[in-house]
Symmetry: C2
């Protein structure tokens, strides 16, 4: 917030739309943010760090920009609608084909099911790094190697993990990694990034065409990165806020943040297992920041409402924009109650939440 406020109060200009000192200052800030993203995600070049409004836009840019008529794409069984909805639209619009690879939730890294689902026209693997419903996290390098071996685009939804895991797009062979600023990167909402490989970034048809402040003499979109994929006035306050968030996360280290959050998640799961009437659906797995539970007597939305109203505990209930994942997990259509832990939560926050859950469970009708 402070970084955003300072930028808006002291500069507020757009990069690339003028050569006055204040515009150059904005350009330097945006370039520095690009370098921050390059370093954080191991991109080949700062130009491969494309700023987008969020993970959803980034995933749409990659899926709509890379998939051609007749292409076949493999997705995991835990995908968010940010992947499933654009793919469903592309099925209708371009006749692409989608196969959902059925994985065991306890063995999300299994390669065989992915290989078995391949066809001659398979062109892409699209997978979330971690499920936004149950937090289960996959080993990206396994799918990255598979993509390289079979000459496929590898698109990753890192909304749940950017900031919690060290992700190096170059060593893991990711062609397009989409992330949001407002989750574990501690940036503001409304900004995110798409880290592209030079090959994918150049092959990707832009989702939005328009003024880039470059090659203004032509009505063709510039071919080069990042301008090719960044049309229109940039969200400079958001970019500056995102960079400040990444700097903050880097200073602590994603590993230390993840260990803290894992510790909270495990404490929570262990506690939930002692509460009659509340079932955690992920006892044996490694969670990221999110843990889903199913209340056995009252509905997820009722439990979520009472947690907020009576205890000030804010959680999301239902399907979390991921119906495919809930179908796979057997929690469709009622969904789950999802708890998310962050760097600023403490053990006592977890204990307080467990006490609230226990009190609500014991006060259920019929108990």
């Amino acid at each position: 917030m402070q970084a955003m406020f300072e930028f808006m109060a002291n500069c507020g200009c757009s990069p690339g739309r003028g050569a006055y000192d204040c515009a150059l200052h904005a350009a330097r800030q945006v370039y520095a943010a690009r370098c921050t993203c390059r370093d954080f995600f191991g991109a080949a070049d700062p130009a491969c760090a494309v700023f987008v409004p969020g993970a959803t836009f980034g995933l749409n840019a990659a899926l709509q920009g890379l998939l051609l008529p007749g292409d076949h794409v493999l997705v995991s069984s835990l995908e968010h609608n940010a992947v499933m909805r654009p793919l469903q639209a592309l099925e209708k619009q371009r006749g692409i084909e989608v196969s959902v690879v059925e994985e065991s939730p306890v063995d999300a890294v299994g390669v065989r099911s992915w290989e078995e689902a391949m066809r001659p026209n398979t062109r892409m693997i699209a997978a979330s790094h971690a499920s936004n419903v149950i937090g289960i996290c996959r080993d990206l390098s396994v799918l990255g190697d598979l993509a390289v071996e079979h000459g496929l685009w590898f698109v990753v939804d890192a909304a749940q993990t950017a900031g919690l895991y060290d992700i190096n797009v170059s060593t893991v062979h990711i062609d397009a990694l989409a992330f949001s600023g407002h989750k574990a990167l501690m940036g503001p909402p409304g900004i995110g990034g798409l880290i592209v490989s030079p090959r994918a970034g150049t092959a990707m048809a832009p989702l939005v065409y328009g003024g880039t402040g470059s090659q203004s003499e032509t009505e063709s979109q510039p071919e080069f990165l990042p301008d090719r994929l960044e049309s229109g006035t940039m969200n400079t306050p958001g970019i500056v806020g995102l960079a400040a968030g990444i700097d903050y996360v880097s200073a602590i280290s994603p590993t230390r943040i993840r260990q803290h959050i894992h510790s909270l998640s495990h404490r929570f799961i262990a506690g939930v297992e002692q509460i009659p009437g509340i079932v955690s659906i992920q006892s044996c797995l490694t969670p990221t920041a999110v843990v889903s539970v199913v209340p056995q007597v009252l509905g997820p939305s009722e439990l979520a409402y009472e947690l907020d109203a009576q205890y000030g505990v804010m959680v999301r209930s239902g399907l979390h924009c991921a119906p495919a994942a809930h179908r796979f997990l057997g929690t469709f259509p009622a969904g789950t109650v999802r708890f998310s832990f962050g760097w600023f939560n403490t053990d006592s926050d977890v204990d307080y939440t467990l006490e609230a859950l226990a009190a609500l469970a014991s006060s259920l009708p019929g108990e």
Copy 2:
């Protein structure tokens, strides 16, 4: 800035992704912003005010979402690349046809040239309300009536005029009005709006598909507005900042702001006409906030550089992402030096700038 900061510090939640009180507060803020946009632009319903990252995204959503293979579209000769580049892409991707209607810069409201350019497959008129190069502003109602008469979509780029003119999309029959928050609406960069007619909003294929927090049980995009056109986490700080900007503008009134800016523009144009070596290209027209001049001895970028370096006057030189407009105006490829005046500028700002221009012109080599 204050509104954004307060939202981030005191709420920061996303609407539609949880039912806790803080999420409902965010939802109420976003809904209030939608109502602000509905009232300001005369939309049929708050749901017809769609939040987008800016005018460029909004124009892409309208053009890509409404034009079908084989359609013909009419554009003015003063369009920005936010219109021209997506149309050029659609020419290649979908075989749409584009006709640039040649208007006289002093008579941009002439209907005959638009009617003469129509074909049996004409489906849309797309036009900027005011040119971003010379500020000339058209009477939208003339084109709106024409669109209604011929059953065409009417898409308007209001980046230069939203906040300066009273635009009522319902009475002028606009199907999609795109605007940016950061210009005369005094909001932050990175947020804008697309005001749609109910018919166009429902017909428009989404540009971005994904989670909307609604109908989470299905992998199909919701059909209803605004969710249909708003996927992914919203830029809530930007939306709150935009609404605060519109409130500020409304309290003064666009008419009063426009009169002030017109007064500054006319003072500037009259002054430029007294300076040998600097030519204003729009003496007789009604400018909005922007005025373009052409220096006769040094280049536009040199003049812009010296204005900033020696006098702290920040202007944009070149083609302003609008090569078609400059070709039409005869200022291609060198472009112009564009001055923009705002509500916070004063007569003495104009006089100071004129003195700077006169000093630079008289110090030119050879003078």
